[in-house]
Symmetry: C2
Subunit: 458 residues, 2 copies
C-alpha cells in the first residue's frame, strides 16, 4: 500500500491516488500518512475528498495535526474545523499550543467558538470535557414518520442518530428514544408514546470514569449529559467511553507502578516530564527503605555472630514483596471493576488468609527441601544440626512473611479507599517497605529465639 501511494505521488497521479485512499478506512489512511515525510502531508491531505479528509484528520497523531494546521490556509482551517464534531474539536484544541488554538478559534464561526469555550470550561476529567453537543433532539408530539424526516434533514451533522433525545420547551430532558424503537413502531406512532420517560443521565460535572462505568453497565450507545437543572447539554458516545476506559486502566497501571500518570502516549512525554513523573516516588521509596536499613543495623550483632543469616535477606524481601503485590494488585483491580466493595473487607481478609497459609506452607516446605539439597547452609561449616536449624529459621520466616504480606497487601488498598484515597497508590512499593520491615523483625526474632535455645548466642 505504501509503495502504491508512493508511486502514485511520484507520478503525480492524484485522481487515482484519491480514489485509492478514499476506499480505505480513515484510521488506516491516518496511520499511512505517518509513514510519509511531514512536508508531503499537506499535499496528500488536499488530495482527499473533503469529508473523508476531516475523518482522517481526527485520527492523526497530535504532532501531525499541528503540522497540518500550520500548513493550512485560513479557508482550509475553517472548513476542517467546521466539519468536526464538538468533542473531537475540543480534544484537538486541548492538545495544541496557545498560538495554534488562537488561530483555530479566529477561523471558527462565532457560534462554534462560544460552544468550544463553554466545553473548555468544564472541570478536568468531568463529563463536560468528553461530551459532544451534536445530538438529535426530537419533539414529543412528533410522529415516527416526522421523526425520521427530521433525522434525514439534520442527521449528517449529528455525532449519532441512533439514540434521540426529547426535551420540553425549557430544554429539560424528558425522554429518550432509539432509532430502532422509531423504526419498529411504524410511521404513525407518536414519539411521546414510545419514548422512555425518566431516562438515565449524568451531570456535566460527574467524573468521566463514572460516566464510562454507567455506559458499560447499561450497555448504552450514548449517555445524555445534563446541567444541574436537568437541561440537556450534550451526550457522551460509547466510543469516547471506550477511550476513557483505556485511559483509566493506564492510569491505574501507572499508579500501581509508582509513577505519576501522564495521560499521553509514551513518545509524547518528554524526558524531563518523564523524570518528573517518576522521581517523587523513587525518592520517597528510597527514603522509606532507610527504615529497613535501620532495622538491619539494629541487628548488627546477630549478623556478626552468624553472617550467613544475611545471605537469605534478599530472598525474604523478594518473596514478601511478590506475595504482597499479588494480593494488593488483585484487590485493587477487584475494587476497580466493582467485584469487591468496601463492605467485603472481612470476606477478602478471610480469603487472603487462607490463600496465604496455603502459599506459606508450600513455599516453606519447598524452600527447606531446596536448602537441604543445595546445601545452602553448608553442612561442612555448620554441621547437620545447626544447618537444619538455620534453614528452619529461614523457612519459618518466609512462611510468616508470606502470610503478613498478603494480609497487609490486601487490606491496605481497602483502607486507602475507606479514607478516600486512590487505592492504587497502596500498591507494591509501599507494601514492600512495610512487609520488609516486619519480615526482618520476625527473621531476627525467630533466629534469636531458636538459636539461643540451642546455645548459639546472637
Amino acid at each position: 500500500m505504501i509503495r502504491e501511494v508512493r508511486h502514485l505521488l511520484d507520478e503525480k497521479k492524484f485522481a487515482q491516488l484519491r480514489d485509492l485512499l478514499c476506499l480505505q478506512e480513515a484510521a488506516d489512511v491516518a496511520q499511512l500518512f505517518e509513514q510519509f515525510p511531514i512536508e508531503e502531508l499537506p499535499l496528500m491531505f488536499r488530495i482527499l475528498q473533503k469529508d473523508f479528509a476531516t475523518d482522517v484528520f481526527v485520527e492523526m497523531d497530535t504532532e501531525l495535526q499541528k503540522s497540518l494546521i500550520e500548513a493550512f490556509t485560513d479557508q482550509e482551517l475553517f472548513e476542517v474545523f467546521d466539519d468536526l464534531f464538538m468533542d473531537d474539536t475540543v480534544d484537538i484544541i486541548e492538545e495544541m499550543p496557545a498560538n495554534v488554538v488562537k488561530r483555530i478559534l479566529q477561523h471558527t464561526s462565532a457560534e462554534k467558538r462560544k460552544e468550544i469555550n463553554q466545553l473548555l470550561q468544564y472541570k478536568t476529567d468531568s463529563a463536560g470535557t468528553i461530551m459532544t453537543t451534536e445530538f438529535v433532539d426530537l419533539k414529543e408530539n412528533m410522529s415516527c414518520e416526522q421523526a425520521l424526516d427530521f433525522i434525514r434533514k439534520t442527521g449528517l451533522e449529528k455525532e449519532t442518530v441512533y439514540t434521540c433525545y426529547v426535551m420540553d420547551s425549557k430544554r429539560i430532558l424528558i425522554g429518550v428514544v432509539t432509532v430502532k424503537d422509531i423504526i419498529m413502531a411504524g410511521n404513525d406512532a407518536r414519539i411521546v408514546d414510545i419514548m422512555e420517560k425518566n431516562p438515565v443521565f449524568v451531570y456535566t460535572d460527574d467524573d468521566k470514569e463514572d460516566v464510562m462505568n454507567a455506559i458499560t453497565k447499561y450497555d448504552f450507545l450514548a449517555m445524555p449529559v445534563t446541567d444541574r437543572e436537568g437541561r440537556l447539554v450534550g451526550i457522551v458516545t460509547i466510543d469516547d467511553a471506550m477511550d476513557v476506559l483505556r485511559e483509566e486502566d493506564t492510569e491505574d497501571i501507572e499508579i500501581m507502578a509508582a509513577i505519576t500518570p501522564s495521560d499521553k502516549p509514551y513518545f509524547r512525554v518528554g524526558v524531563f516530564e518523564t523524570w518528573k513523573n517518576r522521581i517523587p516516588w523513587l525518592m520517597l521509596l528510597m527514603i522509606s527503605a532507610t527504615f529497613t536499613s535501620k532495622v538491619l543495623t539494629h541487628f548488627e550483632n546477630a549478623l556478626n555472630s552468624l553472617p550467613i543469616l544475611m545471605a537469605f535477606v534478599p530472598q525474604l524481601m523478594d518473596t514478601g514483596g511478590n506475595a504482597g503485590s499479588q494480593a494488593s494488585v488483585t484487590v485493587i483491580r477487584g475494587m476497580s471493576l466493582g467485584d469487591i466493595r468496601l463492605r467485603d473487607a472481612l470476606r477478602v481478609l478471610w480469603k487472603e488468609l487462607r490463600v496465604s497459609l496455603l502459599c506459606a506452607v508450600t513455599l516453606g516446605c519447598i524452600n527447606f527441601i531446596k536448602m537441604y539439597l543445595f546445601n545452602d547452609v553448608s553442612r561442612d561449616r555448620f554441621g547437620l544440626g545447626q544447618s537444619l536449624l538455620i534453614s528452619l529459621v529461614v523457612c519459618v520466616t518466609i512462611s510468616c512473611t508470606v502470610v503478613i504480606a498478603k494480609i497487609v497487601g490486601s487490606m491496605l488498598p481497602m483502607l486507602a479507599k475507606r479514607m478516600g484515597l486512590d487505592p492504587a497508590v497502596m500498591a507494591s512499593p509501599f507494601i514492600t517497605t512495610i512487609v520488609d520491615i516486619l519480615s526482618l523483625l520476625i527473621y531476627f526474632g525467630i533466629a534469636a529465639a531458636l538459636l539461643n535455645s540451642v546455645g548459639v548466642v546472637l
Copy 2:
C-alpha cells in the same frame, strides 16, 4: 428502593411491584436482586414482565443465574433461553456446570441447540466465542424503503439493527450499510448503491483482542465475522468489545504482578484456585532470589570487614526494583496500546537512558545529603573521611543501579515480544532479580575499588 421492594413483597402487592421494577434499568434490577435472599428470587423474577425479565437475567451474577435456572420449570427455562441473544446464551452456558448445561440444551429448539454447539466449538479467546449470530442481513437489490420494512419485521430478534450486512447468494459478505445511511438516502435509493463494498471484517479464529482493537480503531458499533471463505457467520458488537477490553487489561495487570490470570471476578475464584494462580510465580521468584543470595555469600569477606555495607543492601534492591518496574510497566503498557512498536526499540532505549541518568543523578545527590544529615554511616565510628567514602560508594551504586534498572526494565519486555512471548511476563519480579544481582556486583565492585584504594582491605 430496597425497602420499597421489600414492603411490596411482604404485602404481596405484586402488580405494583412489577410496575415499579419495570421502570428501572435491567442492570439496576439485577443488582437489586442480589440484595435479597436467594429463595425469594424465583418469585421476584416471575413477577417481571417477560422480555424485561430476560434482560435482568442476563445482567445477573452467575451464581444467581444458576439458582434461578434450578428453580425454573422446563417451560420457563425454554422461554428465557429462547429470548436470549446467542452471545449471551453462550456466555451463560460457558459458566454453568455440566448438568445445568445439559438441562438448558434439552429445553432449547433444535436449531438453537445446533448454533450454540457451533459457537462453543470455537477456539478459546477467538472472535467466534464472543460473536452473536443475530444480525440484519439485507439483499443488495432492496430499496431503502424495503430495507426499513425488513428491519421492522425482523429487528426485534436482532442484537443490533444499526449496522446491516449484505451477503450474496452464497452468504459471502459483500457489503455493509448503516441504518443512518439507509435513513439519510431516502426511500427510493438502493442498498447496492449506498452500501460500503470491501468492508472491514475479522475471521472467526482471530484473537478477540485483535477484534477489540479493530473495533476501537475504526470506532465501529459492530464488526462482521466471517469464516475463511468469506461467509458471514456473526458479528461482534461494541459492548462485547468493551468487555474484552476490561478483561485484557485485567489480564495484563495480573501478569505484571506475577499472577496467572483467572478471567473471573475476585470472589468467584476459590481459595485453592487462587493458590494455584499465585504459587508457581512465588516459587520461581523465590528460587531465582537464591542467585542473589549466592552473590551475597560470595562477598562474605567484604561484609565481614565492613558490616555496615550490609545495611544499605535493602535500599539498593528496593530502588533498583522500583526504577526497573517504572520502566517496564510503562513500556509494556505502551506496547499494549500501540504507542510503542518493536521497531521503536532504539528510541525507547535512548529515552530511558536519558531519564535514568536524570533520576540517577537526583537520587545519588539526595541520598548523599540524606546520609550525611542523618549520619547513616556514623562519623563517630568511622571518622569523617571513611564515612563520606562509604556514603559515596552507596550513592554511586544507587545511581548505577537506577540506570541499569531502567535499561533492563525497558528492553526486556521488548525482547520478550520479539521472541513471541507476552511482554507483560517480563515485568517487575523478573527484572527485580536481574537488577538485584547486577547492582550487588556493582556495589561490592565499587566498594572494593574505592575502599582498597584508601587502604581498607575488603
